[in-house]
Symmetry: C2
Subunit: 452 residues, 2 copies
Amino acid sequence: MSDYRKLDAYLQDNLEQNLEELKKYVSQPSISAQNIGLKECAALVKVMLEKRGFKAEIMATDGAPVVFAERKGKSDKTLLIYNHYDVQPPEPLELWESPPFEPEIRNGKMYGRGVSDDKSHLTARLYAIDAILANEGDLPCNIKFIIEGEEETASVHLHDFISKNLDRLKADACIWEFGGVDHRDVPMQYLGLRGICYVELSVESLGTDVHSGLGGSILPNAAWRLTWALNSLKGVDERILIPGFYDDVIPPSDRDRELMGNLPDLENEYKTRFGVKNFIKGIKGGLELKIEEVFTPTCTICGLTSGYQGPGSKTVQPAFASAKVDFRLVPNQKPQDILKKLRAHLDTEGFGDVKIDFLGGEPAARTDPGDPFIKLIVDTATEIYESPMELVPMIGGSGPNYPFVHDLGLPVATMGHGHPDTKAHAPNENIRLDLYMKHARHMMRLIKEFGK
Amino acid sequence: MSDYRKLDAYLQDNLEQNLEELKKYVSQPSISAQNIGLKECAALVKVMLEKRGFKAEIMATDGAPVVFAERKGKSDKTLLIYNHYDVQPPEPLELWESPPFEPEIRNGKMYGRGVSDDKSHLTARLYAIDAILANEGDLPCNIKFIIEGEEETASVHLHDFISKNLDRLKADACIWEFGGVDHRDVPMQYLGLRGICYVELSVESLGTDVHSGLGGSILPNAAWRLTWALNSLKGVDERILIPGFYDDVIPPSDRDRELMGNLPDLENEYKTRFGVKNFIKGIKGGLELKIEEVFTPTCTICGLTSGYQGPGSKTVQPAFASAKVDFRLVPNQKPQDILKKLRAHLDTEGFGDVKIDFLGGEPAARTDPGDPFIKLIVDTATEIYESPMELVPMIGGSGPNYPFVHDLGLPVATMGHGHPDTKAHAPNENIRLDLYMKHARHMMRLIKEFGK
């Protein structure tokens, strides 16, 4: 590998300025679930890219706009980088130690909503590009950015956007929005993401809330109807009860089991981090935990709301109740198929009164562990990290990698500075600045080597 | 009966001034569930009573204070009047046509939180007293007021207060906080109230919320635990599944069934008012509806809360979930016994992780339909209302009548100006001013005749 001392020195010398840019980016709220600040944030991203000589464009979708940008390089090869500028809602606000949209550095970490997921991943990558441009004046390969604003709401319009822009998005390989190290600080290569099918289930049982002294005996209660409907979806043993739900599930291959087996056992780490004594389903640990964690589909209640939720008691029978539910899917389950089976199940079980709103979804997708692009990522990591990058055939999270893998036909690789206590989607989300620098150095090397 | 023309004339001539007093009373928020404005409201009530020459005292309890007041009259007989100065929370605010704590008169109704339940019942009674005092300078009997501030949160400390003040509260009969007419404008005498046992069930499954992509497969979900626990309490057929729950239930007597049978059939009225096509449990109407409505105990979810409840989707697995649940009890069920059975049931079903907070309760209590005091109320109503008052052996709502009936040994009678569209506990709570005047005229007569 080449000598990257000059470029590394640039990164060492310009960190403060880059972190200021990151702070400014995190300070701009961009909550897709609540449609807050998306346009403003897209405009900010466009400026950030133009500053690096990219031709950037804000492209409309039926939802939040996508920022697309490209800059030609010396070779014919094209690297596509996927990021998102939207963030999760910051609630519950009272659990934040510093305000979510006023990023703050404490003890070598930066805190703020979206700082890890995924704003710093964009700035670290721009930082790597800055280093190359400052030293060489040109990029070693073509680089394209696709930066969407709906990743945290299941990327509802991204698949359609990609389908309509296959030519512009043409590339040889794709870098994913995130990546990171595990609890041992070993960099991980995540080769697949589960799919997702996110729905809101709601019941309206009455024209108005009613005094529970009257309603309880004779009128339908929306909260009860919802409770019973939810209960029909999954048993206490965690088995999902929707007929046909597991039909298309492909079990992990021997190679998958082998790769999973190589990964460290996280049993105790998880128990400490999440404050639990036992896992569900009687899972003990070892390979069983690793496989269950990612190769089984799930049905998760993400939220429940009905009636009176304040302090003390209110004797009211609610007319309305709703639940947010996400299904994590494994190959080859398809969101639309799950949706159809869910509707049929609710109808069969007598829950025709339960309305389903589809809030987004994508099937699972995976990249071949043997792809040369994966090898390049692993190789360029060796100089940066103390341990070699390890391959993870699939992770539990979801993302819109399906159209990148299947529509654009790209190998999709992860690299980044996430860490186990990064608290993505939770209060006090943070990044470790040491890992941030490592990701920038890794990315700089990857771009250089990829362009050769 | 005597000639009450002069006193009626007083009531006709002084309405505006009395309604101003009511508006001032409603404008003072006094939300017991949220501990808002209770002391201020108690102080206001004390002043209102002192204005009528009552010796009033604000008496501490372990919760909101009780306002106790008395004024001697000509006879030795004592009438005890029970009211409460607290109100239900006003949420959901967006459904109010005028602000809940800015009472407004529109089309012969006054709107505001607590205007019906129960602030206007106090002012109408004071209004009747004003008429008597203005004309006669003295009361015909002793009158005592007990006005509490926790009725809307299950009167948690009232029973204890009564037990400790049996002598001061000594009386010959008791007027209850509410009363009213049915959908035909026929005044109703409610002779019994169901009991209540109000609990909050909560689950804390994790030390922190977690990304649902990780949590869903391996970690316990508080919302699921709560859903399954709730489901174990009541089946889709509305049968409560807690072992022993129905053990102490006394079915309605033949006299109860006869009195219930005399009441009008509310099937269509309810269906229109609440916007439902069918009642639960396959109830058709007629006597079955009337009996089911009040003589069966219930288990009602009043509120559900967990995880993300905002717009759109958030992929989070909640660490915490809670439900507000009220059980309406019939004779001879006891709240403490139900609580014990609930705990045992949850433990047996594997829901030891579900915490129970008892938010208050009282057993059911009833007054004998043949009591002479009941006859007096019915008789004094004849001059005011177009139809004679009808006897209802029991209603579905609850209240702290148990210590009045069983500790103080009093007949408890209802009279008031509630009406079917009064929207107690709901947005746009209101009273009809024509019924308000009728209640004041009825109360004036009752006090006069009772004193004889």
